[in-house]
């Protein structure tokens, strides 16, 4: 890992009391509060590995996959949640899956993710890279909620997906999913 990222050409955005330096894809250096930085499991892991070595020099953790404009957004999210989230005990896998289905997106996060679809995907990728599970989940949930109401064609158009099926393959897929197409409308529980 290079320590050269803190070169004189890179802009350092310092905030009082912050300790961990990270650099984005473009080489821009950010100084983060340790609590904020450790919300990323990647940064946490590196810091734990480095142990005593950490903080004693000008080392900069390079986040080579994250663009500055996306990192700035993520930083906003991290700072908000560092101040508002309570420590949660880790859930069992089954509980987590159920929670995934049931959880609602909090209002603040809804506003945060009320951005262009492409930006949501970029935030999702960056959150995955940085291993910020909660943010990644929120992005996935947001996209999933959008997808739920769209047709195949609408999804292709909205997310720039090229239809790479041949007509024969499309017919085959149609046959494969025929089992659910003739399903009668679901009866609600309020009859």
């Amino acid at each position: 890992m290079s320590t050269a990222a803190s070169s004189s050409t890179s802009e350092t955005i310092a905030e009082p009391g912050l300790k961990i330096k990270v650099s984005t894809k473009e080489g821009e250096v950010f100084e983060l509060d340790e609590k904020v930085a450790k919300m990323s499991q990647v940064i946490r892991g590196i810091l734990e590995d480095l142990g005593e070595q950490n903080g004693g020099d000008d080392s900069v953790l390079p986040l080579t996959q994250v663009e500055t404009r996306i990192f700035r957004k993520i930083l906003v999210w991290l700072k908000y949640h560092a101040g508002h989230d309570k420590e949660e005990a880790p859930k069992a896998e089954e509980d987590e899956i159920i929670a995934r289905f049931c959880e609602e997106i909090p209002e603040w996060d809804q506003k945060f993710l009320n951005v262009d679809q492409a930006v949501i995907l970029e935030i999702m990728l960056a959150a995955d890279y940085l291993d910020i599970k909660k943010l990644r989940g929120l992005c996935c949930k947001t996209v999933a909620n959008i997808l739920k109401t769209k047709t195949v064609e609408q999804i292709r158009e909205m997310y720039g997906i090229e239809n790479d099926f041949t007509p024969e393959e499309e017919e085959e897929i149609r046959k494969q999913t025929a089992w659910c197409e003739d399903e009668p409308p679901r009866q609600g529980s309020n009859h």
């Binding site: 990647v42 892991g45 590196i46 590995d49 289905f101 999702m124 291993d131 090229e162 089992w179």
Partner: protein, 378 residues
């Protein structure tokens, strides 16, 4: 066969394999401290094979007696190793030898980035750096340095002119798709467990056993370690270029598909958009989660039970859904023919005294307390 010191013999096979895998994970100081604690002051476990009195070595003799188990090319390389080490081949060397050999076959080239004399002395086992070149796309060739230690990445990163890919083994299992900077270690873990199981309690003291099982060990190490490493490196060096939803990594697409209640419709819609999404939507894990979430009959079934009864989780889901659809159709047909029979106490009212609202096209069972002469009664 001669063995190491009594202190070392007390250590379990699992300890030793963990050493092999985890030796390079921690920083220098941590490693030394840990090894020191484990071995009573020794940085490395002593080789388990020593020169015999006649200056031959037992490993060579035993390996010759079991040569027919081991591929010829492996035998030759093993002999060279023995000669180089004058017979002092321990399990660490043996395992490293196997890994090196297999990685070489798959295009990895072992390199050294040792900077100090002392590092060079201990480099053979502790510093496992590999150069690797992968062709990710027809027009994209990437090279990287693969190392097994995050702390070392600082040092190597300054010397290597190409990207450094780091394997971590101190990270949670969920840590799966981190590009370029770090790689997951589930593969290492699984290799470790396999080796532990395969060799049981004999691993520490029996390098001959390892030699005898080289073909099997090689297959497993190659499948679980080397080939997966290649695939992950390829992914790491050629991170997805975000052009659309389908360019996201599979793990994220999978998570998107399983993030909404009643996700079945989304899965089926996504399945029809393009080949990659069809692949993701057809994964067994998706249908297992959907099945368990949707049908109580599948909730408690294990993978093995589902495989035996339905063949796959997808088939299990489809079967259950079909049965449900057939049942609904049957009810709908019955309702169309005769009208639904709704007992008065099921009609949504708590009291059977005021059962005035049977739904259209439904025939309510007579309320014994109803006034049959009221207009609204029908």
């Amino acid at each position: 066969m001669a063995t190491g010191s009594p202190k070392m013999e007390q250590r379990s096979a699992v300890d030793v394999v963990e050493d092999i895998i985890e030796l390079d994970v921690r920083s220098e100081d941590d490693n030394e401290e840990r090894e020191s604690a484990l071995n009573g002051g020794e940085i490395f476990p002593k080789p388990v094979i020593f020169l015999a009195e006649d200056e031959t070595n037992r490993l060579r003799l035993i390996s010759e007696s079991t040569f027919h188990h081991v591929p010829k090319s492996f035998q030759d390389d093993w002999r060279i190793l023995l000669d180089e080490r004058r017979g002092n081949v321990g399990l660490l060397d043996g395992f490293q030898f196997v890994v090196d050999r297999l990685m070489m076959e798959e295009g990895f080239r072992k390199v050294q980035y040792a900077t100090t004399e002392s590092e060079q002395e201990t480099d053979s086992v502790r510093r496992s750096y590999y150069n690797h070149t992968v062709v990710c796309l027809p027009d994209q060739v990437f090279s990287c340095v693969l190392i097994f230690s995050r702390s070392q990445s600082w040092k190597v990163g300054q010397q290597a002119p190409i990207p450094v890919v780091v394997i971590q083994s101190m990270v949670p299992e969920q840590f799966r798709h981190l590009s370029k900077f770090a790689l997951p270690t589930r593969i290492l873990q699984s290799t470790r467990y396999w080796i532990s199981n395969a060799y049981g309690g004999n691993l520490r003291s029996d390098v001959v056993e390892m030699y005898r099982n080289l073909p099997e060990l090689s297959t497993v190490v190659k499948d679980t370690l080397v080939l997966k490493l290649k695939a992950i490196i390829c992914h790491s060096l050629a991170p997805p270029i975000l052009t659309g939803l389908d360019s996201l990594p599979c793990v994220l697409l999978e998570e998107i598909l399983l993030r909404t209640k009643d996700a079945e419709k989304t899965v089926l819609t996504m399945r029809q958009t393009c080949k990659k999404l069809r692949h993701v939507a057809d994964m067994g894990h998706i249908w297992r989660v959907l099945g368990r979430e949707t049908f109580s009959a599948l909730k408690s079934m294990s993978d093995a039970e589902v495989r035996e009864k339905f063949g796959s989780w997808k088939q299990a889901f489809v079967t259950e859904r079909r049965a449900e659809i057939e049942e609904k159709k049957r009810k709908a047909a019955l309702e169309a023919s005769y009208g639904a029979i709704v007992p008065y106490h099921w009609s949504g009212f708590n009291s059977n005294l005021f059962n005035f609202a049977p739904l259209q096209r439904q025939v309510a069972m007579p309320n014994p307390y109803a006034n049959l002469f009221e207009d609204e009664w029908y």
